[in-house]
């Protein structure tokens, strides 16, 4: 199978869907003439023109609010947040407007908008350019929340997002853009809300998503190699809707669960997964659920600090070893 970078896979999804659906409109800062700070939209202005690939002023609240108006009048806007951190600048447009329009109107309007953003740390970008907000988006009802970890998933999930009639928060990771992986030729989509077993195993289940999924796979490899422990690794892929079924199925085999994400631990997606597993499959658990997540502090710049605040593969290995002793 051919190999593409995560960036190329995303660009392919955007291109194919824009060819298919003339209502798709991209908007954001430096996405047109410059091609996007992370190059995802490179070449799209030349191909689709300035009406559909729109450079905006630095006005996140304004252009996401406009996205709501575009979506309610038959368009399929794809506003881009250059950094996820800027969602807080556009918070009203995102959470009071886009997320609620349909429910508040008793179903009379719909908002088929896909917000794209990249998030996460690991590059020393500091506390205002490294955050992960999937828990915020999962907590407040109204958005589907998608976090692909591989190029193939990035393409298939983005294509589904662009065909969904609901608001979708499509979350990329800044340190995944240059990763490479096999991407199928030809047309395919991946449904939203379906987790994927990325590695099969017998002894414990590790659940993760986005870049942390790669760390989970690395940890699983080390556990096998150095400790003879066989870990099953599940890529959640979406936090809303959340596919608990696939996790429970795995637990019927392993009976041990470790959840790992780079975002802060408190009230995070891990806490939610743990609760739902308790509610539906408590009897399958042979040990308390283990969480390996970001520390509850603003994300620092120095590498020695960032590497403790954002859990690295060895932290997952340590967590797994502890869990296996329970």
């Amino acid at each position: 199978m051919r190999e593409l970078t995560y960036t190329q896979a995303l660009r392919e999804a955007l291109t194919e869907e824009m060819e298919r659906d003339p209502n798709i409109i991209l908007m954001g800062e430096d996405i047109g003439a410059y091609g996007g700070v992370f190059r995802v939209t490179e070449g799209l202005l030349a191909r689709f023109g300035p009406e559909r690939v729109r450079d905006t002023p630095i006005s996140e609240a304004g252009f996401i609010g406009m996205g709501v108006g575009l979506a309610m009048t038959g368009k399929r806007p794809v506003p881009e947040l250059m950094f996820m951190d800027f969602a807080l600048v556009a918070a009203d447009s995102i959470w009071n407007q886009a997320a609620k329009m349909r429910a508040m109107s008793g179903g009379r309007v719909k908002v088929p908008m896909v917000i794209r953003a990249q998030q996460g740390g690991g590059r020393g970008n500091g506390a205002q350019h490294s955050q992960s907000f999937e828990a915020l988006f999962t907590h407040i009802p109204g958005f589907k929340v998608v976090l692909p970890a591989t190029p193939a998933d990035a393409k298939g999930l983005l294509k589904s997002a662009l065909r969904d009639e609901n608001p979708v928060m499509f979350i990329e990771h800044k340190l995944l853009y240059n990763t490479k992986g096999p991407v199928p030729d030809g047309e395919y989509t991946i449904p939203l809300g379906v987790a994927d077993v990325k590695r099969e195993g017998q002894d414990l289940t590790i659940v993760s998503y986005s870049r942390q999924l790669l760390f989970a796979l690395e940890a699983a490899e080390a556990l096998q190699r150095e400790h003879g422990i066989s870990a099953e690794v599940i890529d959640l892929r979406c936090t809303a809707p959340m596919d608990i079924e696939t996790i429970v199925k795995s637990l019927r085999k392993t009976h041990r669960l470790l959840i790992t994400h780079e975002s802060h631990a408190s009230c995070g997606v891990g806490a939610e997964i743990a609760m739902r597993v308790m509610e539906t499959a408590f009897d399958e658990l042979d040990a308390p659920i283990m969480r390996v997540a970001g520390l509850d502090v603003p994300i620092p710049v120095a590498k020695t600090l960032e590497d403790v605040v954002l859990p690295q593969p060895d932290a997952i290995v340590r967590g797994a070893l502890k869990l296996m002793k329970e």
Binding site: Q97, G106, K110
Partner: protein
């Protein structure tokens, strides 16, 4: 006031309908048949009717929690609107939106909004949609004098002018934002000056003169459709009731309110119709009787409508 008599009469009747709707809601609110928030637009009927009569049925509209007048002027079904006030499943938003969240895409209504200024970028988005489709539609957004201090307002004005969007920005300057008088919330000489910073055309009109509002919005719509971009209209008006029911109104004097009652837009249009067009008291009585009947029917419809079933808490959300 040089508009055709028929148009003036239908504007008069719609203004009377809005007034009667709001007065009925005040009553129903005090009797606890309406729960939650309610911000009457009594006194501001001329801005709503003048503006919405000056655009087409398929043009877009966003307004605020004080938007009942605009929605009724744009043509919302009054029975469904009243049912919404009473939280019934036959309401415009099936009882899920209430007073502040009427929406009806069939009349171009993209929603009232309970967040100050949030409707402005949404209308700008609808205007962009119309511009992209070259369908000749315009978007009208109605907001208060308080909204001009919000970030979303500024961002939307900037982009609307930058891209020459077919957008009409109608500020209902009623001199207060909740309890705060205008002079305490911004340093402008007049609200319309806000548009200067965006190089945007701006006009000031007497918001209690329905014809002045109509003319200004009609001209703004003509320019917008001709590709001339947005217009900012400051309409000076006054809310004759408190910000919400139960407002002590300690921030304004009885004399001030009484002076504005003299400039009541419905009274003014009536005087004009009587003097210039020879409309008789009997004709006015007939109009008011029709309006009262319509409101009585709406209240009856609402009261007889069922409440939403508990299971409906999960419906009308995901597509």
């Amino acid at each position: 006031m040089s508009l055709p008599k028929d148009l003036l009469l239908s504007m008069y009747e719609r203004m009377a309908l809005i007034r009667a709707f709001e007065e009925a809601c005040v009553q129903l609110y005090m009797e606890k048949e309406i729960r939650g928030s309610f911000h009457p637009c009594v006194g501001q009927e001329a801005t709503a009717v003048g503006a919405c009569f000056a655009i087409n049925p398929d043009d877009y509209l966003t307004c605020t929690y004080r938007g009942h007048g605009a929605c009724i002027a744009k043509g919302i079904d009054v029975n469904a609107a009243m049912a919404e006030m009473l939280g019934r499943r036959t309401g415009v938003s099936k009882g899920k939106g209430g007073s502040m969240h009427w929406a009806d895409p069939s009349i171009g209504l993209l929603g009232e909004n309970a967040i100050v200024a949030a409707g402005v970028p949404i209308a700008a988005g609808a205007a962009l949609s119309a511009q992209l489709d070259r369908n000749g539609r315009v978007a009208l957004t109605i907001f208060g004098d308080g909204a001009i201090n919000q970030g979303a307002f500024h961002e939307a004005l900037n982009m609307a002018q930058l891209w020459k969007l077919p957008l009409i920005l109608l500020c209902e300057n009623n001199l207060y934002a909740e309890m705060t008088p205008l002079a305490k919330s911004n340093p402008l000489e007049q609200v319309a000056d806000r548009a200067k910073g965006y190089n945007m055309r701006a006009v000031v009109v007497d918001g209690n003169d329905v014809c002045a509002v109509y003319d200004a919005v009609r001209e703004a719509a003509r320019l917008a459709r001709a590709g001339e971009g947005p217009t900012f209209i400051e309409a000076r008006t006054y809310r004759l009731l408190g910000h919400m029911i139960g407002d002590s109104e300690s921030y304004r004097t009885k004399e001030e309110v009484a002076a504005w009652r003299e400039r009541d837009p419905i009274k003014r249009l009536r005087a004009h119709l009587a003097q210039a067009e020879g409309v008789t008291d009997a004709e006015f009585d007939a109009i008011h009787a029709r309006v009262q009947q319509q409101i009585a029917d709406a209240v009856k419809f609402a009261r007889e409508s069922p409440y939403p079933d508990p299971e409906e808490a999960y419906t009308d959300f995901w597509v």
